[in-house]
């Protein structure tokens, strides 16, 4: 039953992902990728549970290494995405303050 439930979650989020991402304009595709990279660092959640659990030495080390790699993704991904997105500015030439 659990398997069915998880596949349901999987299917719905794939559809939602397609809907949302196909609306991202081409201009933002590089930040979209680095942002997606940061999101894929979500494995850190699984890694934390292994690294902090007491299942033995090997799973702890595996988990700790995974935490490190995933945190590179999370921190690096969000920071570089933020850096890039803040460069996208619209110069207000004719109508200053017009944000649309």
């Amino acid at each position: 039953m659990e398997g069915v439930f998880l596949s349901m979650v999987l299917m719905l989020s794939v559809f939602l992902g397609f809907e949302l991402i196909s609306k991202v304009p081409a201009t933002l595709h590089t930040p979209l990728m680095s942002g997606a990279n940061a999101i894929s660092g979500i494995t850190v959640v699984g890694a934390l549970i292994s690294a902090g659990g007491e299942l033995g030495d090997l799973p702890t080390y595996l988990g700790a290494a995974a935490v490190m790699f995933a945190m590179i993704n999370v921190v690096g991904g969000y920071m570089v995405t933020n850096r890039m997105l803040s460069m996208f500015k619209k110069k207000d030439k004719s109508q200053p303050g017009d944000k649309s």
Binding site: S13, A26, S40, T43, G63, M71, M79, L85, F88, K93
Partner: protein, 453 residues
């Protein structure tokens, strides 16, 4: 915190991820979208620390601090021209993290068959994402030759690897154990598969590969989520997977090639394009200045050459001077210009070009006939009219920016060499084309200097 409460917070995090991606739909709201997404990640990580299976924090703190420092330093230091390499490395790091999480999940007690299958999937996808990304990084940073590596029997070797992976996976799932020799075979083969998959792909096809590896890194996270029964991993991982697949698709369409063709065949210039002959008409910076000064509308068409020459800042300077001179200035960007999706846009944004001047191919083509001067900077295949006219051309059918329809075309070029795909470009011989030979940055600087006199 009980598991129910933790899962409730995961739902909130998932909603914030979705909201963040939605905000990425426009450059105005994108910064906020990224912050929502980061907040979602923070929530997910913070509540996980309350999981009662987590007993010791020593390793967590050391690993998290080390990872954060590496990530932060990399994010601060990276040059915008090197973003493709950065994304490739991050894809690889996401892949290896999923492999490790899957591996560690084997130590949990009471794993079902379904769990073991998903563990194998997360190891295989994670492993090949890791090694494939490292190889892609090597090719992008030109540490190694970026050309496609093709050898005879490649398909046989690759099929053998895939069959081996399937066989060992079945054997492993029949008798799962953390010390099973099949486990190590699966890990080694998946890493080998990643290398073999990226080897036959050349430099010009890199946008497709990075997008695809991006997708894999999400799918690996998704598989790891299935392995440890964690909803937030499934939701976030599948969103990343979807993002990568959409970008891969856009890149393939923009090159008029199928994904299978990109992945398996290298760039085979099997067909001989009709030889184009004629005389090119070189122009000096002085003459270029005179034409530009009289132009009412100017469109810049950047390609990877602009990134190599680091010319984006002088291009923006020239753009501003032209605007002051009363011309309408736009930047037309082909989807596969550069080494990753949207690469040119980021470079121009960094140089302070207003994003409403960045025009997509479909929007510029209908009105390119009214453009006085199209300035092609370090782009070649994406403006090659052979893609439209010459059925024998290897790039025939690829959508291009029709700069040849503009009143005058300037092509900035180092010398008369063909583009990445090795295809001759009839654009150079058009009546309305003027060649401005030399380093793109220097050529534009001299035009800028003329304007300032």
């Amino acid at each position: 915190m009980s598991l129910v409460v933790i899962n409730f917070w995961y739902v909130i995090a998932a909603a914030l991820f979705i909201f963040g991606l939605k905000k990425l739909g426009s450059p105005d709201s994108a910064v906020r979208g990224n912050i929502y997404s980061a907040a979602a990640m923070l929530i997910a990580v913070a509540v996980t620390l309350f999981n009662k299976n987590i007993l010791s924090f020593d390793w967590i703190i050391i690993a998290a601090v080390a990872g954060s420092i590496i990530g932060a330093v990399a994010a601060q230091r990276v040059q915008m021209t090197s973003m493709p390499e950065m994304v490739a490395i991050f894809n690889g790091s996401g892949g290896i993290a999923s492999l490790l999480v899957g591996w560690a999940a084997l130590f949990n007690s009471g794993n079902t068959l379904l769990t073991n299958i998903t563990v194998v999937i997360s190891i295989v996808v994670g492993g090949m994402t890791f090694s494939g990304s490292i190889l892609a990084w090597g090719k992008l940073s030109e540490i190694m030759n970026s050309a496609a590596v093709v050898f005879s029997g490649q398909r046989v070797v690759n099929s053998a690897i895939v069959l081996g992976l399937l066989l060992f996976s079945v054997l492993f799932c029949l008798e799962p154990s953390v010390s099973s020799p099949y486990l190590y075979l699966i890990i080694s083969l998946s890493i080998l598969l990643g290398v073999m998959a990226v080897l036959p792909i050349g430099g010009a096809d890199m946008p497709v590969v990075i997008s695809l590896l991006n997708s894999y890194s999400g799918l690996a996270a998704c598989a790891a989520g299935l392995a440890i029964n964690n909803n937030i991993l499934i939701v976030a991982g599948s969103m990343v997977g979807a993002a990568g697949i959409i970008l891969t698709n856009i890149m393939c369409k923009a090159m008029n090639r199928s994904l299978a063709h990109v992945l398996f065949s290298g760039f085979s210039a099997a067909k001989q394009a009709t030889k184009v002959e004629g005389e090119v008409k070189p122009i000096t910076a002085d003459d270029a200045f005179l034409i530009l000064e009289a132009a009412q509308s100017v469109t810049f068409v950047p390609g990877y050459g602009m990134a190599v020459a680091q010319a984006q800042h002088v291009v923006r300077e020239l753009g501003e001077l032209l605007e002051k001179n009363g011309a309408d200035v736009t930047y037309a960007i082909h989807p596969v210009a550069g080494r990753m999706p949207g690469h040119m846009n980021v470079l121009l944004a960094e140089a302070n070009v207003s994003y409403d001047q960045l025009i997509e191919m479909e929007d510029i083509n209908p009105r390119i006939g009214g453009v006085d001067v199209a300035v092609v900077i370090g782009a070649n295949d994406v403006v090659n009219p052979a893609a439209r006219n010459d059925e024998n051309s290897p790039i025939y059918g690829m959508p291009i920016i029709n700069v040849d329809e503009a009143r005058t075309v300037f092509v900035l070029k180092r010398s008369m060499a063909s583009g990445f795909s090795g295809v001759d470009n009839p654009l150079f011989f058009c009546d309305n084309t003027r060649m401005l030979f030399g380093d793109a940055k220097q050529s534009i600087s001299s035009v800028v200097a003329e304007f300032k006199i």
